[in-house]
Symmetry: D2
Subunit: 379 residues, 4 copies
């Protein structure tokens, strides 16, 4: 693991996710750039002292040389080091599971994507909110034609966790997230907008053709943006809205998606992830539930307990690690991986996420003009 | 009553709304331009034959001359005759309750507003979805500072009732609503967008400064628009989104609003109108319920039964008629009207609704450019 | 109308219910035993002075003699005069709509039932909470075999409106309801338990074979009961629970029913009456909505507005008056009444309600022994 | 681990729960009485062959002799071996985490309780559904007087997983649960009723004084019971209902509790465990959310991620293992354990659970007579 020193935000969730299904063992790390914190975390986690490294570069090189070196590196640093750390492991032939957003820029993302392809390693991005079983079911229902052609998509990730000027209140865990130099050129899109962007692509299968964006800073005194309205035109003619906000007080976690088609719509909310609502006018509304035998194979694969026992956040996050383990072990064993092991985002998904951010910034700077979504991301 | 002949859509709701509280008696009408339908409806409603008129012009003149002439005319025709019918009664000194949207254009709306002022009569617009008690409570909470400064508003009125090409299927009640010549220059904004627009103004007290709009036609073969995304900038700096759609399959009635402030947010849905959600991070979420003594005076005034008995659609619609009756009788009695009798929209509200439509159309035609919301509506 | 003087609780709802569909005109009344209150209410309601009567006996006789006498009397007095007032009108050949519970005892109820049969008049009991469209739909679904054989029913009517000793606080509207001499031998069963009892019979079609009851007084200082647990065995083998309580603080209106069958279950709550949940394991849950074309004829008949506009409490209450009007006018016109006009409870329903109360009291006094539900009610 | 061989139901949840927080390592087991299954499971879990034992007796003895022997045994066998397996480890000084119900009889439970006391080891019972953070918060709210004196409690654990005669369909995982010889004298109470019983005690702090029970077999052909209605009288005067059912088709997981006090009520449902509803009449309803700083220390201790990320079933189950680890390591380290480490049920809780079952059976056999709840369980 790279990152995840004392006080880190997301690292404990990664560790729990990796542990839940028992397919990973944490044996090495570069947890913090501060030597004491690094050592302390290594000890707390039971890491051998010689495998607690001062930085990711040292770790990648040393582990690559060990006969019992790590098979996979989990990168949970702030956004600004995602690219460099990923490249260090990739170039040493070590698989990577990386927290989102993929990088700081589209150019970096394309470089990581090319490196992973060149070295033949896995690059898995932890868009954990898209790893719920019923997100896969939604895609299956849409793919099966249950909605007909999609007309409108609305997705939002809007919460109020930065509704005050917390960066002035000494909250270290939060401060970097509103600092463009670390969090990226659009804080609100990099930190949470990419989750919404990936969810809508994974949920619907649609790709964005063009967009118009308005990025705002609503909290007085803040330098970064904290609210984004992005309107979308999809290939094929559907329209959509994406709203990302850090100033939506009292909105809970706030990640929700609705997809409206010719015949019906799908509704899903991350706070109640075990229910997927399928609604057509003129017919009883339907609620699909995680854990039921009627779900598609991928949704069943992504589930551990029967319907009614809420599987929750750690279940979804663990799916990403379990599926990465499946892909890695299948490759090692020379067998095809289970095709249902698809909960993680790929390098391509990450590239499109960075392209989305850059297009939104360009539109915003151009007075909200309609902007091609991903010209430079195309292969 | 003008309009409301056999098969009319909204007229029965107006009649039930007027009856519920027993403050109106229906004694005259011009129900249909088709003589047989007009006569039949007059008979069905127990109207004296000499007070069943061939058209609104004849009705306005004749009733104005009778010593027992009507005090108030209810206008429930398709949109294109709202202005002419309203003017006919206003100019004969008869109060008017009129269905929305106010008129076909801003110019017409301004003319009606001026006429009502000149003749000293009431012009009440039936934005019935804004007449629920908890909409008034929301305004009270916001006015009391419970949310702090408002940062973001999202309002939507999106349903799927015209998700098929119903105008090609012989549905007369629906057909005119997708015909610009009768429904107005933007069908989706005139028919339902104005409800969302009025709700957001009444709920929040905010006024729109500028907007950008994208109007679309999603159903193949349709000539009118059926989906609108409108982004909003409010005086004072808040931002917002308004989504109006007739193609949101399976979205139920689909009128919902959320207001996010510095300290908390309010959430309300017309399908569950007896609950208002007041949510702040770091405190238990609160649910306010219609019928409770802790609500503001206007919310209590607008309610007829105790909390837990769902008061529903007819209760809200009846508030408009009851409040119009209060204003009319207070003026007749030379006393101040109950200040809580405020559930109906005014001529000014209607004018701003038409200005909103025209600004949205202008923005849309200009590639989504930010457009001043109401330059010509200002007094 | 008999009862409904100044400050009366339920009378305004009856008047609104009778007005909503325009099939009744209120022309006579004996509103209060207090002369001033009686006269004042007559004036407020626009009743001719000679048709504002000092009591129901005078009213029944005088109206029966008038050529334009009332067709139907609405009885909204406290429980203790339901029987005498009903009999006065019935014996004068006047149809009766009566508030629940039917009477103070089974013997009285049987007398009213026999009198109505003898005189050929309608006796309609306003179990308004069973008059919602989706209650009829539930019965239809069960009758259609959608649930298979019913196994378990749970019904509850539990709220907290008498959770304090309000009878000691001078609340006149509430005080009589906890006074056995006026409200009946079991206050909690007479006032609200009979609503739950009727709902379960109307919803399911089941009849109770035997029961065991525990009646309790939970509020210190109260003389009447305020909480009842009644366990049920139905003809055919199903089991059930009925809970009636006035001390369930914070439980809202609190009338809910669930029916579990071999194949699926139905769930309904009076606070959200426009939704009926039909749930089977191993299949998506279904939500049926009022106003949809897929509902049974009776549910469609009982509905006035499209799905999504909450029809609410007054809609259900008005169904009873509208259906009584249909039965009365059909009989007058010599035609069969619309078979869907079935929202009101009959004299037989009222008789079984009184039998239920008496059986529950008998069980309670006998230490909770299983008790035959209705031996003396059988015809 | 004892039990949890191939195809076992609950064992994978125990393993995930033990892994989530990284405080346990699985190093030994007696997974199955079938040698092949036992060996295969040991291999799958990476257990050394010499620590994969043929049965729990051999395991307890051998591990007690090893210097690196297990500190704690997790017992996940069918109910009939809980007592014997627990005693084997307890008598060898090894701490025990045991699945519920504690034993097959009250006598056995008392024996286990005494043995654990004598040997000074931990006996933790996995009533995992009571280990959610908001269950602890409910107890805190009640203890703080937020509800006033409790008047009525309703708890139910009713699902439809055995609504068909699955024991005749070859479902091995389910078959033993409806076999009294393995599941206990009342199947429905042993398997699920004890969860409801423990939840109500943990949630409220109330203890049952007496009860009346009706146990039924609703599925034709079944020999065990599958539905239980139990009415309760608590010490202090409160009344309650407990419903346990395996035939409630379409009721989801079905574990829910409501507690009504003088001033307010609490409502909680295991399917949405991150929300606790606190409702008083005359005040806005409140929703308390897991992960918030306003919760009590125990509720905060039991939580791993911020509000809005659903923590779910594995989080609650893992609390039991984490709290057992805390108690065990505190004892080893000679320090007081964190007083918040209280999510597991104790031997005393298990004893009262068995007393509850035996009292309910006695009442049922005695025609539903009121029966003392726990005469022989008292110490």
């Amino acid at each position: 693991m790279v990152g995840g020193g004392p006080g880190a935000g997301i690292a404990p969730a990664h560790r729990r996710a990796a542990r839940l299904d028992g397919r990973f063992e944490l044996v090495a790390g570069a947890f913090s750039r501060k030597p004491e914190g690094n050592r302390a975390m290594g000890e707390e986690l039971g890491i051998a002292p010689d495998r607690t490294y001062r930085d990711f570069a040292a770790m990648a090189e040393a582990e690559a040389r060990r006969s019992d070196g790590i098979e996979c590196a989990s990168i949970v640093t702030p956004n600004s080091t995602h690219a460099a750390a990923s490249l260090a492991f990739i170039r040493n032939g070590i698989d990577v599971v990386c927290d989102k957003p993929m990088t700081m820029s589209l150019a970096e993302a394309l470089e990581v994507e090319r490196a992973a392809a060149t070295h033949g390693v896995l690059f898995a991005l932890t868009h954990n909110y898209s790893a719920y079983p019923l997100v896969a079911e939604a895609r299956h229902q849409i793919g099966s034609g249950e909605l007909g052609a999609i007309r409108v998509v609305t997705v939002e990730y809007a919460h109020g966790t930065r509704n005050r000027l917390i960066e002035a209140e000494g909250d270290a865990k939060m401060a970097w997230r509103v600092d463009s130099a670390i969090a990226g050129p659009s804080t609100v899109l990099g930190d949470i907008g990419t989750h919404a962007h990936h969810l809508l692509r994974r949920f619907t299968g649609l790709e964005i053709e063009s967009l118009t964006a308005e990025l705002s800073t609503m909290v007085p005194g803040r330098v970064a943006d904290d609210n984004a309205f992005v309107n979308l035109r999809f290939h094929g003619g559907a329209r959509g809205q994406l709203w990302a906000s850090m100033v939506a007080a009292g909105n809970g976690h706030g990640l929700r998606i609705r997809v409206f088609g010719e015949k019906a719509s799908l509704h899903w909310d991350q706070e109640t992830p075990d229910e997927l609502f399928l609604r057509a006018d003129g017919a009883p509304y339907r609620t699909l539930r995680r854990g039921e035998a009627y779900l598609c194979a991928t949704a069943r694969h992504a589930s551990r307990t029967k319907a009614g026992n809420p599987e929750g956040y750690f279940g979804a996050f663990a799916n990403i690690y379990a599926d990465a383990a499946e892909v890695i072990s299948a490759r090692r064993d020379g067998r095809p991986a289970n095709p249902c092991a698809s909960s993680f985002a790929t390098a391509r998904d990450g590239v499109l996420g960075m392209a989305f951010i850059e297009a939104a910034i360009a539109s915003h700077r151009n007075g909200g003009a309609w902007t091609d979504a991903a010209p430079d991301a195309r292969r």
